[in-house]
């Protein structure tokens, strides 16, 4: 029997890849305060996936299409003066999810697939899924590496980046679409509702330990993969849904990082925490995309 024929082996590789991928892009999500946008994306892929499965095309294509609409919509909204992009994102989040639920209700015998999409189905991944996740990991790592300067400059100092000749709107779209691809890739494994924690928590945990972009990106990748692996182990050990145990592991890693880094005299205190909580109430994601247009 081939090593890859074992569903558990495939699941192990998938959680490692998905965790690393989530940690990698999570750094950008946390630094740019795009958690809320990412949350909207995870929910917006849902109607796309349902629609795709009704029509009978690959559900990834449905997810990519629906997420792409949201990503470009948010990018466009954030360019408009006076638009409350956060409010619009919130409405899109709920509306997308409601649309998906409505579509599901029109179909009989759909509820099992629905629940697996909400909390993920890591044990059903096939070899093709693994190749897909690996390919996305390579592409995303390449994009983030090659585009690190414009992405960093735009995130750090938007007006400065524009005055230095960077088309910040274009780089926003590059970043949002990169996040979208990652969301669509990892949602089938860990679920619509739970994907956000796997993206944000490892990066927020890494921020507690370093202020170097390279170091904290590497840490986030390790934390993400460790969350996946640890969560999968706990899921088998105590027979709980893998998506849930992966999310709880990532959350525990974040909590431990925040506490330990403070005890040891680590570097950052509030920002890492805000990354997860503060912005959801105060400074919502797309706010950072809005141009500074003060007179």
């Amino acid at each position: 029997m081939n090593w890859w024929d074992d569903a558990l082996h495939r699941a192990t590789v998938e959680v490692l890849l998905a965790g690393a991928l989530a940690g990698l892009v999570g750094v950008q999500v946390v630094l740019r305060r795009l958690s809320f946008f990412t949350m909207a994306l995870t929910h917006a892929t849902f109607p796309g996936v349902v629609a795709a499965s009704i029509i009978g095309v690959n559900i990834m294509i449905g997810g990519i299409a629906a997420g792409g609409i949201i990503a470009l919509g948010v990018a466009a909204l954030s360019r408009r003066r006076g638009q409350n992009a956060a409010a619009a994102t919130g409405v899109l989040l709920s509306a997308g999810f409601a649309l998906g639920t409505g579509l599901v209700a029109t179909q009989s015998g759909f509820s099992r697939d629905l629940s697996s999409f909400l909390v993920g189905s890591i044990l059903t991944v096939g070899p093709a899924d693994l190749v897909g996740t690996l390919a996305v990991l390579i592409v995303v790592a390449t994009v983030l590496l090659v585009c690190r300067r414009p992405l960093t400059f735009t995130g750090f100092d938007r007006t400065g980046a524009r005055s230095a000749g960077f088309a910040t709107g274009v780089w926003d779209v590059v970043l949002l679409l990169t996040i979208e691809i990652v969301v669509v890739t990892i949602v089938p494994a860990v679920g619509t509702i739970l994907a956000l924690a796997l993206i944000v928590a490892p990066a927020a945990a890494a921020r507690a330990w370093s202020t170097r972009l390279g170091v904290l990106t590497a840490l986030a990748v390790v934390f993400g993969a460790a969350s996946g692996l640890g969560g999968l182990y706990l899921s088998l050990r105590w027979n709980i849904a893998a998506g849930a145990s992966i999310t709880l592991t990532a959350t525990a890693l974040l909590a431990a990082s925040l506490i330990l880094s403070r005890l040891i005299g680590g570097i950052r205190r509030p920002p890492a925490f805000y990354a997860l909580t503060g912005e959801a109430t105060k400074d919502l994601g797309p706010e950072v995309l809005r141009y500074t247009r003060s007179g």
Binding site: L31, R81, V146, C147, R149, P150, T152, F153, G155, F156, D157, R158, T159, G160, A161, R162, S163, A164, G165, F166, R207, S210, T211, R212, L213, L216, I267, R268, P271, V288, T292, R293, S294, G295
Partner: protein, 250 residues
């Protein structure tokens, strides 16, 4: 050689609505221009119009002999520090290196010349020993100097500074003033906006008094008169004594 800045009856603003009108300015290479006026007077608008980030709605504007947006490669821009994300994980040296990105391109590796320019710029603002420090851990004045170093690393012919002395300690202010004097002595034109009339009077060759429109422009002695300031600032200008000393409430 063309003027660093040539504005004739310029108005600028957003979405077709002018925020600032009647701007007439000429600045030669090596001259220092201070923009003064109350909050919301249009100082930042004027600076952004020089960068071509805000459209010129009327009049004629050229920057270094070109339309504003096309002059951007020759301009160094120092934004207000509070417009940045100080939590972003970048070191002082990395911030200064951003000034070289236009030369390097957005993906090519840095060269020895770029690293030398970064080191020289940090030395010029007196922060060579802070190169490896996280930007967010620096003081307000040090952050401003790092941003100045970033603009210097781009080797600009025109330097724009938006409120460079806001929240800046005396040491940093002196360091910045020293750099600006050296730069203009070397032929670089300098434009800065400031609330501090004393700094404007001390540093600038030309002072431009703004409040929605240009009220006066010329030498500090000619512009910073009690009469002009009272006109531009409304009731907030107070004359003290007879020696032209005028305090302005913010």
């Amino acid at each position: 050689m063309s003027a660093a800045l040539s504005y004739s009856a310029v108005s600028a603003g957003y979405h077709g609505t002018p925020v600032l009108t009647h701007v007439d300015l000429t600045l030669a290479g090596g001259q220092r221009l201070a923009l003064v006026g109350p909050n919301g007077a249009g100082k930042s608008t004027l600076i952004k119009s020089i960068l071509g980030l805000i459209p010129v709605l009327g009049g004629a504007a050229t920057v270094l002999g070109r339309p504003p947006a096309q002059a951007r490669p020759l301009i160094g821009y120092v934004p207000q520090t509070d417009s940045l994300d100080a939590d972003f994980p970048v070191t002082a040296a990395q911030v200064v290196m951003m000034g070289r990105y236009r030369r390097i391109g957005w993906w090519r590796p840095t060269r020895a010349a770029d690293r030398r320019a970064v080191r020289a710029a940090l030395e010029q603002v007196g922060l060579a020993d802070r190169a490896g420090k996280h930007f967010g851990t620096l003081s307000g004045g040090q952050r401003q100097r790092v941003l100045l170093a970033r603009a210097l690393a781009a080797e600009p012919r025109l330097l724009l500074l938006d409120e460079p002395f806001n929240g800046v300690d005396a040491v940093s202010q002196e360091a910045i003033l020293g750099v600006l004097r050296t730069l203009s002595a070397d032929g670089t034109a300098v434009v800065l906006s400031t609330h501090d009339l004393a700094v404007a009077a001390e540093l600038a060759d030309i002072v431009c008094l703004l409040n929605g429109r240009q009220w006066a422009a010329g030498s500090p002695e000619a512009v910073l008169t009690a009469e002009n300031l009272r006109a531009a600032y409304g009731g907030h200008a107070i004359e003290v004594g007879h020696d032209r000393t005028v305090l302005v409430e913010p």
